[in-house]
């Protein structure tokens, strides 16, 4: 009897929580046509704070939110307008990511950001169908090809591969003929972005793809895949994955004595401080990486403020370039809003409906030309009707004594035609 009472109490509490959530969910929406008395601009953020990509989602998401704090508190918002940030966790769950888009629409957001290509893949149809524009921080080519209402902040995972391949052929490859490349990719849009680009452009660039192996985000060992790769005797191993699986692959590659000897390169989804933290000191100079931002601590205008906020609010992410990407995303969003305010009206932009979204895209996104992001990454331009990548350049890095050391300045990531 006591057990029944306890259980009934739990059910009642759970039902109360549902009702509360439901009420909160309904209350926060701004129905179309009804303006808030203060006409506050709202921007949505759909962030994978939890789930299997949390090691990236957390620094990126906190970087985004901290930058908005800086913009609102120190700069007084955008052109005097404080920006309200509405954010939800996706849990790296496609169903939640999809419903989050509808929630952000109901909340009256002008546009929204998505952290990962996985969440963006789940969200893109709902956003494209409604014409609700989005900025994807880490993206796959499938999100912006064909172009619709999704924009990517940085070059995509396919561009990483192309940029590194170009660098390798010009600076590292000394042998005759074409170098042999193996791909070890994540079995989702992150990895398939690399695969899709390699299929389209490998022959033109001058490399032979000898094998493509896939892994899961939860992989604990890639010995089998690497053994098969070793049999093909490739010159380069390109890893298109997130930090945790990349660290597993590197560890296994050392165990199988693939490294040192073979050149290993990591796409930007996996090439971050978290990779070094997870892999420890075993990473040698044979490991290269591509990343689309400057390095932490570089002398660029936006670094000092970002470093100050990171040390103050999230010191655990100091030195983490993912945080830098999130921070930069908010600076870009502020620039989009600035352009939208210049070319449209606050009434239109705060209407919270398709009219606002269209204005946000046409008068905001598309008007951003050559914005320098305070030097934190390559200049951003969304004016091209086909190429929806904001920044179009990356840097090539090498890991030296546990640090990511840049080998190049900005390297062009050429637009790849997928159709």
């Amino acid at each position: 009897m006591k057990k029944h009472r306890t259980f009934t109490a739990i059910i009642l509490v759970t039902v109360a929580a549902f009702v509360f959530t439901f009420a909160a969910g309904c209350a926060s929406q701004t129905p179309a046509g009804k303006l808030d008395s203060q006409k506050q601009l709202k921007i949505g953020c759909s962030i994978c704070f939890t789930g299997t990509a949390a090691e990236k989602g957390q620094p990126i998401g906190q970087g985004e939110l901290d930058a908005w704090k800086y913009i609102n508190d120190e700069l007084g918002g955008v052109d005097g307008n404080k920006i309200e940030i509405v954010w939800y966790d996706t849990g790296y769950n496609a169903a939640i990511a999809t419903t989050n888009v509808k929630k952000l629409m109901d909340d009256g957001c002008l546009f929204f950001t998505i952290v990962s290509s996985y969440d963006a893949t789940a969200s893109k149809e709902a956003a494209n169908k409604a014409g609700f524009p989005a900025l994807v921080i880490f993206s796959s080519p499938s999100l912006t090809n064909p172009p619709a209402h999704i924009y990517s902040q940085l070059p995509d995972y396919g561009d990483d591969w192309a940029a590194f391949t170009n660098y390798y052929l010009k600076n590292i490859w000394k042998g005759p003929g074409k170098p042999k490349m193996a791909l070890e990719i994540l079995s989702n849009s992150t990895g398939y972005g690399v695969r899709d680009a390699a299929k389209v452009a490998a022959a033109d660039l001058g490399v032979d793809i000898v094998t493509i192996e896939e892994h899961k985000t939860t992989t604990l060992s890639e010995t089998d895949a690497l053994t098969r790769i070793k049999e093909k005797n490739p010159d380069i191993l390109f890893i298109g994955s997130t930090p945790a699986p990349t660290s597993v692959i590197l560890k296994n590659a050392y165990q199988l004595k693939l490294i040192p000897g073979m050149t290993v390169a990591c796409g930007h989804a996996g090439f971050t401080k978290a990779l070094i933290d997870l892999s420890g000191k075993q990473i040698s100079n044979d490991v290269y990486g591509v990343f689309p931002t400057v390095n932490w601590g570089d002398n660029v205008p936006g670094m000092a403020k970002m470093d100050e906020y990171c040390k103050k609010l999230h010191p655990q992410y100091v030195g983490n370039n993912d945080y830098l990407c999130g921070w930069s995303a908010s600076l870009i969003n502020a620039e989009i809003i600035r352009q939208a305010l210049k070319n449209s009206t606050l009434d239109v932009l705060t209407s919270g409906d398709s009219v606002a979204w269209k204005a946000g895209e046409e008068k905001g996104f598309r008007m951003v030309k050559g914005y320098d992001v305070e030097g934190l990454h390559g200049p951003v331009d969304f004016s091209d009707p086909v190429d929806r990548r904001g920044s179009k350049s990356v840097k090539i890095f090498q890991i030296q004594q546990g640090e990511m050391v840049p080998l190049t300045g900005w390297v062009d990531a050429p637009y790849i035609k997928y159709e």
Binding site: K3, H4, T6, F7, I10, I11, T14, A17, F18, T21, F22, A24, G25, C26, Q29, P31, F49, T50, Q58, Q62, V86, W87, Y88, D89, T90, G91, N93, A94, A95, I96, T98, T99, N100, K102, K103, M105, D106, Y118, T121, A122, K124, E125, A126, K129, S140, S142, N145, S187, N188, S189, Y192, G193, R195, D196, L313, H314, Q316, Y418
Partner: protein
Amino acid sequence: MSLPCGIRNYSYATDTAIIRTKTQWTLFIVFLLIVFTFPFYFPRFWLDVMNLIGITTIAIIGLNILVGYCGQLSIGHAGFMAVGAYTTAILAGSYHMPFLLALLLSGVSAGLIGLLFGIPSMRVKGFYLAITTIAAQFIIIWVANHWTDVTRGSMGLGVEAASIGPLIFDTEASQFFLIISITVLCVLFATNLARSRIGRAFIAVRDNDLAAKVMGINVFAFKLLAFFLGCFFAGIAGSLFAQWRGHITPEDFTFSQSILYIGILIIGGLGTSIGPIIGTVFIRLLEQCVTLLAPLVERSLPGIPSGFATGLSPMIFGLIMVLFLVLEPKGLAHRWNLFKASYRMWPFSY
């Protein structure tokens, strides 16, 4: 099958009816009226959540036939949904097939693939069978990823909005009417199936397949039928999912979803007709609840450590799941039956 105090049946037809009293009919009609007026007062987001609940309910009904009634443990249900989703995307997209026909064929194609993976049930059962169904999940998704000429791999396939004659289901509200109508039909079909000769045979196979065989039941045929029906529902759910989402990729049908579906069924109540509905509503709302909770906590308590609020959500989700399994292992359907029993006995407490 008990009735409220003072009421009894006077004919075989009323005794076997699903809805038997005037009160039940009234409640049922009022419930349907309330549900079908949701689009008039709920925002897009909640309609979308309800659409997802409807789709998941159909998938879980299929899983309930397979696991709950027939006792064939399957951990590849999301894979079978993928078959239905891709069938719809291809038939409706490339061949411009009418929606209803594509929907039906999606169910049939998933059912046939389910039959194929049900063949091992002749030799293995329990956890061993579960492992063979895991293979279905991975093989189907592998094919979806690599048969790029048809599925476009990770790029995915776009799916046109469903239409029946002049009706186009391209908004959250119109999709709601379509999805919930099909869900109601599926619930009625599954409820009747469970009370039929086939349903009783499934239960016999589940409880003791040797005894079922001695009674003259063709155990293997009924196991295969359960696989077909279970996967047919998964195919229907997949087809609706494709229409709802408008674009599908292999990433939409993950192994963790298959595990979640089993969790939903256990929490709802295995082998009951109400279990899949209650379980789905509970888990899908809980997901949304914890999603909305983190920003709310962080706004209300600005001093909490970084990451605490977001970490809270999965912890609460896990804790509630554990509490339910410990305190109510028979599922929420059992709790619902206790509630109904107390209503039937009212005003007497014995």
